[in-house]
Structures are given as C-alpha cells and as structure tokens.
Amino acid sequence: MKVPLNIDWQQILLHLLNFTILFAALYFFLYKPVKDFMEKREAGYKKQHDDAEQALADAEKTKAEYEEKIAGAEEEIAAMKTEAGTKNAEERARVIEQAKAEAVTIVEAAKKRGELEHDKIIAEAQREIADIVTTATEKIVLSADVSKSYDEFLKSAEGNAKNE
C-alpha cells in the first residue's frame, strides 16, 4: 500500500525499536544510577537536617523544662519565705503573749506571797505582842509590886524589842 509522504510502517517500527533500546540503555546505565546517587545524597542531607532539628527540639524542650523547674523553685522559695515570715511573727506574738501572761502570774504570785508574808508577819507580831503582854501581865500579877511590875513590863518589852 502506498502511503502519502512515503510513510513506511516498517521503518516506524524500526525507529520505535531503536528508541526502546535507547530508553533501556540510558535508563539502566545513566539515568537510574545518577538518580539513585542524587536521591541517596538528598536523603543523607535530609536525615542530617532532621537529626539536627530533632536535637534542637530536644534542647529546647530540656531548656523549657529547666526554666519551668527554676521558676517553680523560685516560687517555692518565695512561698517558704512568706510562710517562715508569718510563722516567725506568730511565734513572736505567741512568745510575747506567753511572757506577758507569765509576767502577770508572777506578779500575782508575788503579790499574793507578799500579802501572805505581810499577814504572817502581822499575825506573828500580834502573837508576840500578845505573848509579851501575857508574860508581862503574869509577872506583874505574880510580883504584885506595881512599880516593879511596871519596870518588869517595860524591861521585857524593851528586851523583846531588842530581840526583834
């Protein structure tokens, strides 16, 4: 069959065969090895990049953690300080209160004791006076000498006073 433009199917097929051979040769000997090499290198660089990114992210995370920890510690310290402050004040107040109370009791006790002593002294003095009076009276009564008795009485009173 005569095709216009002298198109020859057999030669077209030969051209196709030629191109197929060329495709196979270029693909296996040139394209694929070069592509594989480029991809390998790209993957290597990508891995390096990813690793660096990962390391950076880890470092950032650790840093954030530490910062958080430091902030927490600062807060804790502040809390402790305020707590200690309030505790101190409380303690002081309590101690003062206690001291005051103690002072009051001490004063009370001292007062009481003073009163008791006072009473005791007075009572003793009264008793002694009574004793003196009794002895003097006895003596006077027994000697029946009034002037003597007066003297006796005064003497004994003097003596008592000296003894006191």
Binding site: L5, N6, I12, L14, H15, I21, L22, A25, Y31, V34
Partner: protein, 290 residues
C-alpha cells in the same frame, strides 16, 4: 601589539579573503550536479531515491541509519559513564558529575513541576526523549557520510527529519501519555487522552517540520556555492543548535504537561453531592407524611 598594527593586520586578512572569494567566483564553474535543487529538496522530504542498505535486510531512509548511530553512540556513552564515572561520584560533585546531575535534574524538575502526582516513569521517558532529540539534531552537524544504494554519498540527516522517525517519536509520546492516563486514572485517563486526539499528529509534524526545515535551509544554502562561505555557520550551526534545544524542550514539556493532566486524580464531587441530596429527601418525606 599597538592598535594601528592590529588594524593593518585585520585589513590584510580582509583583503586576502575578498580576493580569494572574488577569484573563486570568477574561476569557479562548479561541476554539474547530479540532480537539480528541486530534486534534492524533494528527496530530503520524501526519500524516494536516496536509500541506504540496512545490513542487506532492507532499504531504509538515511534518517534511520542516523537514529541507529545516535543510539549506538549514546549507549556507548552511557556504558562509559556507568563504568568509569558513576562509581567515582562524590558528595561534592566535580565538573563532569555536575553536568550529568544537572541533566538528570532538569528533566526530573520538569516532570515534577508539570505532573506533581506521578512522575517517576515520566521523568525517565522525557530524559531519554530529550537527550535523543538533542543529540540527534546535533548529529546532523557532524555530516557523517554513508553510501546510498544508488552509489552516491549522502550525509546523514537528523533522525527526526525523517518523517518515519518523527511519527514514531510523536506517536510513542502519545501512547506514553495514554498509558500514563490508563495506569493512573483508568477510564478517565483514556478519555482525557483521547480528548487530545490531535496531539500525536501535532507532535509528530512539529518535530518533522522543525528538523526538516533546518535540513532544507542548509541544503538550499549549500546548493549555491556563492552562499557557502560564512552563511553556513549561521544557518547550519546556529539553527541546528537552536532547533536541538527548542525541540527537545518543547516535546518534553508537552509530554509532561499532558501526562500531568491525564494522570491527575479527578474529584468525583458532583455524583456524591447528588446522592446526599437524594438521601436528605428520603429522610424528610416520612416526617412530612406524618
């Protein structure tokens, strides 16, 4: 050398060249051509008389011999690279490695940018096609001579200036696009490719026309002796280089664009939308009937 001296030297050269040119034109009675310009041009297009014997198997156009030669040269080059160059590739590329890598990189980038979803096979195909077209067109410049069956010598043309080669390339590219459509998209891919039914024709004849025109213009210029001094450098070398670059780029670009188009996944939105509408109608009707 002073400026004056160099001007004098240049003038001397110019005078010699002009004298020789005039002399040749005056003396030259070129040997009568075996065929007229019309015959030569017609044969460059139709290849009716200039046939080359292919291993005693059949008579073929010289373009096919060019194609085989180009394939042979490229295969040898690839094997050479595979054995001697690629095993010594380094992380930081040298000059030759840089050339090979950017060659592969250009076609991979072209494939990726035009067909983002599937481009592994595509980039290999356009790599081969681009290299074949470029080297095949450059091959014309070497002017390798073969003897035709009629006994006269013919310089091998670009493989794709032979219409059979151009049809093979264009048709194969179309089939490749069709194959990509079928593999990646099934029936949608086939329809998407068949929609572009003029593509094989346009691709084949673009190659054929572009490369043949180069050959014809060169033939035309060489036919007349007075034109064959400085002009061939421009029309022969520059045109051929431009053709080589442009045609390699255009075909690979077209193949990647159409491949990307037919292999891209189509969204089946309209059908689902209709279904939902139907369902919502069904749910409403019972409530209305109540």
């Amino acid at each position: 050398m002073s400026k004056k001296k160099s001007i004098v030297t240049f003038a001397i050269f110019l005078v010699i060249i002009i004298a020789l040119y005039v002399g040749i034109l005056l003396l030259g009675k070129p040997a009568p051509r075996a065929e007229t310009l019309g015959e030569t041009m017609k044969d460059a297009v139709l290849h009716e008389t200039m046939k080359v014997d292919l291993f005693g198997f059949m008579e073929v156009n010289p373009g096919l011999i060019s194609a085989f030669t180009v394939t042979g040269v490229l295969t040898l080059f690839a094997i050479f690279c595979r054995i001697f160059v690629i095993p010594r590739f380094k992380e930081i590329p040298g000059k030759f490695q840089m050339i090979l890598e950017s060659l592969v990189g250009i076609f991979r980038g072209l494939a990726k940018s035009n067909s983002p979803e599937k481009n592994q096979v595509l980039s290999a195909y356009i790599f081969t096609a681009g290299v074949y077209i470029f080297v095949g067109t450059i091959f014309e410049l070497f002017g390798v001579q073969v003897i035709t069956t009629s006994g006269s010598p013919v310089s091998l043309p670009a493989p794709l200036s032979d219409i059979n080669g151009a049809i093979a390339m264009g048709g194969l590219s179309y089939l490749f696009i069709l194959g990509g459509g079928i593999v990646n998209n099934g029936w949608h891919g086939i329809l998407g490719t068949l929609k572009e039914f003029s593509l094989p024709l346009s691709m084949s004849f673009r190659l054929f026309g572009a490369l043949l025109s180069g050959a014809l213009v060169t033939e035309l210029v060489y036919y007349s002796m007075s034109l064959s001094f400085v002009l061939p450098v421009i029309v022969g070398v520059l045109f051929t280089l431009l053709h080589a670059l442009i045609q390699a780029y255009v075909l690979t670009l077209l193949v990647s664009i159409f491949y990307g188009e037919v292999s891209e996944k189509k969204l089946e939105k309209p059908r689902r939308f209709r279904k939902e509408k139907k369902n919502s109608n069904n749910t409403i009707t019972p409530e209305v009937s109540k």
